[in-house]
Each structure stands twice: as structure tokens, then as C-alpha cells.
């Protein structure tokens, strides 16, 4: 359904009067296919380009190169007008429920907005229906964001994303700023909505445990590049970085205590990446080759970009 082909994004920062700007690749040559009805997860640490990827996929950012094809239409070449029309089919839920709602809009206004901007009539009873669908009381339509808790706001954000019945939704860390208890509610809600509406999700998170619980396939990113695509949620990792991510999680079971063996070393600056594998500096298996040459995803059913996979 979605084909992401060699997508890259280059950011320049800091340029000024008589000052040279610095450039970095926030997303580097990412290719990915998502089938209809699939839930694909993207994990990676802060700053590895997850959000940038999400924006590129929905063309909220112009890619530096590569394309995104949604059901045969190349989103990257659409005119502004056609793109706006195409947005009916795709939606995004944002990380920060606090700034993703206009403070001046009531919940009803927020939910009406998709119809207004797409010049569609608002079906009667639609708002109540949407609120119910995301588990909010219908009276809440008159409330303003500042009267809602984080979880409630995120539900409103989800309702807004689904208002126009899209088939593809990008979820950019929808639970990162919520309590675990609320996170569980939201994940639960997203799962049931997907079942009801036959949605396709690109689910972004930094929490590998959560992604493994929620997704069919998992893309692991490190400093802008995909390092591994786990074909199933419970597939054994092949990339040492994925392994380290799994090992960094704490199992909530005192009976299964284990020694903590954290990674050493620092994440390199994205502005001057080493020539070889970006992870080489922290990788226990790194060799001279890793430091000199950049590995690419291999062509297996479990693509991994590593010279020494597990």
C-alpha cells in the first residue's frame, strides 16, 4: 500500500551572516513497503530521525530525495492542491498531546476542522460518534484542551486523525508523554480502532517493548538509517544494536533479575558521522571493517545492516 523509496532528508542549521551552515542527514536512504492492514513499528533512540521519517512519509516535510507512493500515487510529486485532497486518506497522531491541539479550539472545533479544511459537510451526530469511538463522553465536545488530561487530549487527537476515515495513519510516539497506565489505554484504543476500521499504521516509538507488543514488523533506526527490519515482533534480533535495545529494557519481574550490561560509549554527533557503521563506536562486535565501511541492509527476509550479525 505504501512504498517508501530511498527517502532522505538533509537539514542545514546555523547558517548566518558570514557563517557556514552545518548539514546533517536526519533520514538516510530509507526504503520500506507497508502492506494494507499492517502495523509497522519504528524504534530508535531520541534524535535518530523517527519523527522526520514520519513527516516525510506524509509529506509534511519535503524530502531531499526519494519518493513515497501511496496506492500508486506518488505523493512526492503531487501539486499542493492535489496533495491536500490526498490528505483525506492519511493522518497523523502526534507525540505531544499538549501542543497538538489549538488552545483556542473546543473539542468540537477540533473535530470539525478536518471537515472544514476538506470542504466536506459535517454529518449530523458525527462529533458525538467520534467521541464515543475514542472513549470520551459526548459532553466533552464543549471542553477546551486546558480542561482535559493528557490521555483525554491524545484521544481527541486520535479522533481528529480518524475523522475523515483515512486508511493510513502515522502514530508518532503517541504515548511518549503519558503515564504507563494511560499509555496502555491508548494502545488498547488504537488496537481496537484498527480492527474496526481496517487501518494501516506506521507506529513510531522509542520503547522496543511497546513496539514488540503492538506491531507486526519492526524497523530499527540508528542515526537516520535503518539498521534492521524485524519481520515479526518476536523475531530474534540480528543487529547488535537491536540486541542492546532489548537488553536495556528492564523486565518487570523480580524473579527474572539479570545483570545489567549497558552499552558503553557515546552516540556520535549526527553532524559528523564516522565513515563506517554509525554504531561501531558502541558495538561490542565492531571490527576495523565496521569502522571503515558502512554496511547496507542485506537482502534477506530479515534485512540487517551489519557485517557481523548475531
Amino acid at each position: 500500500m505504501i512504498e517508501i523509496e530511498h527517502l532522505s532528508k538533509r537539514f542545514q542549521t546555523g547558517g548566518g551572516f558570514l557563517k557556514r551552515p552545518r548539514a546533517m542527514l536526519a533520514v538516510r536512504d530509507v526504503s520500506l513497503t507497508i502492506a494494507k492492514g499492517e502495523v509497522v513499528g519504528v524504534v530508535g533512540e531520541s534524535g535518530c530521525g523517527k519523527s522526520t521519517l514520519a513527516r516525510l512519509v506524509l509529506r509534511l516535510l519535503e524530502p531531499s530525495s526519494g519518493r513515497v507512493v501511496l496506492d500508486g500515487t506518488d505523493l512526492t510529486s503531487l501539486t499542493a492542491r492535489d496533495l491536500r485532497a490526498a490528505r483525506k486518506r492519511m493522518a497523523m497522531v502526534f507525540q505531544d498531546p499538549y501542543s497538538s491541539l489549538d488552545p483556542r479550539y473546543s473539542v468540537a472545533d477540533v473535530l470539525t476542522e478536518p471537515f472544514t479544511v476538506q470542504r466536506r459537510p459535517l454529518p449530523p451526530g458525527q462529533i458525538a460518534e467520534m467521541l464515543t469511538a475514542v472513549g470520551l463522553p459526548t459532553e466533552m465536545a464543549a471542553s477546551h484542551p486546558h480542561q482535559l488530561s493528557g490521555g483525554q487530549r491524545q484521544r481527541v487527537g486520535i479522533a481528529r486523525a480518524l475523522a475523515l476515515r483515512p486508511d493510513f495513519v502515522v502514530l508518532d510516539e503517541p504515548t511518549a508523554s503519558l503515564d504507563v497506565s494511560i499509555q496502555a489505554q491508548i494502545i488498547d484504543l488504537l488496537a481496537s480502532l484498527r480492527d474496526q476500521m481496517g487501518l494501516t499504521y506506521l507506529f513510531i516509538s522509542h520503547d522496543l517493548g511497546l513496539v514488540r507488543y503492538f506491531c507486526d514488523r519492526i524497523v530499527v533506526m540508528y542515526l537516520g538509517a535503518v539498521v534492521e527490519i524485524l519481520p515479526t515482533a518476536d523475531a530474534a534480533p540480528r543487529h547488535p544494536y537491536t540486541r542492546a535495545l532489548i537488553d536495556s529494557g528492564f523486565v518487570p519481574d523480580p524473579a527474572r533479575r539479570r545483570a545489567i550490561a549497558p552499552l558503553s560509549g557515546e552516540i556520535p554527533s549526527p553532524f559528523d558521522l564516522p565513515p563506517g557503521c554509525a554504531f561501531a563506536g558502541r558495538c561490542p562486535r565492531a571490527t576495523d571493517r565496521c569502522r571503515a565501511e558502512r554496511p547496507t541492509l542485506d537482502d534477506t527476509t530479515h534485512p540487517t545492516a551489519c557485517f557481523h550479525p548475531l
Partner: protein, 320 residues
């Protein structure tokens, strides 16, 4: 042997709002106590109360007492309390990004502790600082001491904050969500460091976290706070094996476990009530799956069970 830190039935108020209500905790030397609960349940307030820092945010202990090594903090004067902070009690804050003074070099910020509390000279203090940084496996400690905070990564800064907490050779470290703002890989590093301190130096650790995984892995005891009250407290193993309070159960169940099928995560319905509108009776009852009419009416007492305690009307000991 008396506990190193003991909160006896403390209540904390800010202005007219009572934000903590009858919280009791005990922490022995060499032990790690995990303090968990959802956001807004009062974890940080508890830490501030233990540090004697509530006045900073305009609050005070309105009832009960905070005892450190048998001494009631309330009976000490300001100078005496200050002599404890940084010396015998170290503090690690949640966000390492904002915990350091951005306009002072790293070294100076650490040095001041040993100069103040240990009476070291400038050179001796710096030597100690370098020594500590090296112990925390910070590469090029000398250079780091001369660096400005903004030149360091988050994980590095958190290690600096820990070094600062360690400088006075404390008996107790209070760490308020020390890893929340950090990446998972870094988080593991920091937890490992803290756990190592307990193991190697025998300090007591009050670890505030919202990650039940961390609690399960490194804590000896855990205290669960909900809406300003203690829901349950006790040794980690039995609580994880058989939680006494429905809230504890619910919290544990919020974490996706390996092999769980999609759609089985339930979460806790509703949200933490705000301090201005705590529900009557058991404060958890509106969100509790087992709530009855009694739960809304009666405040459950804190019942001691074995080595721990819990506050729920559904405990067999509670006779209605």
C-alpha cells in the same frame, strides 16, 4: 537498628491543599526503596519532604515526622539541616539537562560540595572531583571538569549529577526519576551506576521511578503511591508475585510483557485525580475494577501484612 530514613505518617501541604496524606516509609542502610506511582501521585513531594526542601516550593510537613538516622528533621535548625544535605543525603534530579548551572563549569559545581561539607581546599576538592568522575567511568575526567554543561550529553550530565550527590560521601541518595529523560541505552547505564553504588558503597537509595521494570530489577522494597496516599509498601518479590492492592496489580499489568497478544493490554481507566478534587473514601475507587459502595465511603486503613503494608478494603484483614 533504626532505619536510616523514616517517614512517619507524614502529610504535606502547599497552601491550603493537602497533597500528601499519612505517608510512611522506612529505608535501611544499604537498601534500595523504589517509589512508584502515576504522575501527580506525590512522589516528588515525598522526596522533597525527605530532603527538607519543601519550603522551596512553598510547602511544609503538616503532620508526622521525617527522621534521618533517628533525628527528627523538624527539630533541627536551618544550618543543621543544610549540613545534612549534600553531606549525608545526596540528591539526583529527574532532568539532567536542567540540573546543572549552565553558566558554571562542571568541576566547580562538584567542587563546591566537598569544599563546603568536607572543608577541602580548592586543589583537594578538585582532586576529589576528578577521582569521583573517574570512578563513574567518565572518560577524560580532567577535561570534563573544565567543560561547560551544554557541552555534555544527557547521560554524561546525569553522571555529573550523581557525582555531585556522591561528593559528600552520603549515606542516603534520593534519586527522583533519574532516567526518565534519557534514552533507553543510557537509562540502563545510569541504573547500573546507581545499583553499583548500593552494592559497593553500601549507601541507601530512595529511587523514584515510574518504571516497574526498574523496580523489579534493582529494588529491595517498593512503595506504591496513589493520589498522595500510600497504596502498598513492602519487599519487591512478594509484591510482584502477589500484589495486595488492585492499583499495584493494575500498574504491573500496564507494561507490555514479552509474548503478550496484541489487544490484551488494558491500562487503568480514567486519570489520576487532581489534588483539589480527591475522591472520598479510597481515592482509587473510581478507577478500580473491584470497587464497591464501601470503597467510596470509607478510607481504607494502612494494614501491615508480613513485612509490608497495604491500604485496601478488600484485604482479608479489614473487617467491615
Amino acid at each position: 537498628m533504626s532505619a536510616l530514613l523514616e517517614l512517619q505518617n507524614i502529610s504535606v501541604s502547599i497552601g491550603s491543599a493537602q497533597l500528601l496524606d499519612g505517608v510512611s516509609l522506612r529505608l535501611e542502610r544499604g537498601q534500595t526503596l523504589g517509589l512508584v506511582g502515576e504522575s501527580g501521585s506525590g512522589k516528588s513531594l515525598t522526596a522533597m519532604a525527605a530532603m527538607g526542601l519543601l519550603p522551596l516550593i512553598g510547602g511544609h510537613v503538616s503532620d508526622g515526622s521525617v527522621r534521618f538516622d533517628g533525628q527528627d528533621l523538624a527539630s533541627l535548625n536551618d544550618t543543621q539541616r543544610r549540613a545534612l544535605r549534600g553531606r549525608r543525603i545526596g540528591f539526583v534530579t529527574q532532568n539532567p539537562m536542567t540540573a546543572l548551572d549552565p553558566v558554571q563549569r562542571i568541576g566547580a559545581q562538584i567542587d563546591v560540595v566537598s569544599r563546603l561539607h568536607l572543608g577541602l581546599t580548592k586543589q583537594a576538592a578538585r582532586a576529589r572531583t576528578i577521582d569521583l568522575l573517574t570512578q563513574l567511568r567518565i572518560p577524560e575526567a580532567q577535561a570534563v571538569a573544565e567543560a561547560w554543561p551544554h557541552q555534555l550529553s544527557g547521560g554524561m550530565k546525569q553522571r555529573i549529577v550523581i557525582a555531585m550527590a556522591l561528593t559528600g560521601d552520603p549515606e542516603l541518595i534520593i534519586a527522583d526519576e533519574p532516567t526518565t529523560a534519557l534514552d533507553v541505552t543510557v537509562q540502563a547505564q545510569i541504573i547500573q551506576i546507581l545499583a553499583g553504588l548500593v552494592r559497593e558503597k553500601g549507601v541507601a537509595l530512595l529511587l523514584i521511578t515510574h518504571d516497574m521494570g526498574v523496580v523489579a530489577q534493582i529494588c529491595d522494597r517498593v512503595a506504591v503511591l496513589y493520589a498522595g496516599r500510600l497504596a502498598e509498601e513492602g519487599p519487591v518479590a512478594p509484591i510482584f508475585a502477589a500484589p495486595q492492592h488492585p492499583y499495584t496489580t493494575a500498574l504491573i499489568n500496564c507494561i507490555p510483557q514479552e509474548g503478550m497478544a496484541r489487544g490484551t493490554l488494558r491500562g487503568i481507566p480514567g486519570a489520576v485525580p487532581s489534588a483539589r478534587q480527591y475522591p472520598s473514601g479510597c481515592r482509587f475507587h473510581p478507577r478500580c475494577t473491584r470497587a464497591t459502595a464501601d470503597c467510596a465511603a470509607l478510607t481504607p486503613p494502612l494494614i501491615t501484612r508480613g513485612d509490608g503494608q497495604a491500604a485496601c478494603l478488600h484485604l482479608p484483614e479489614v473487617a467491615l
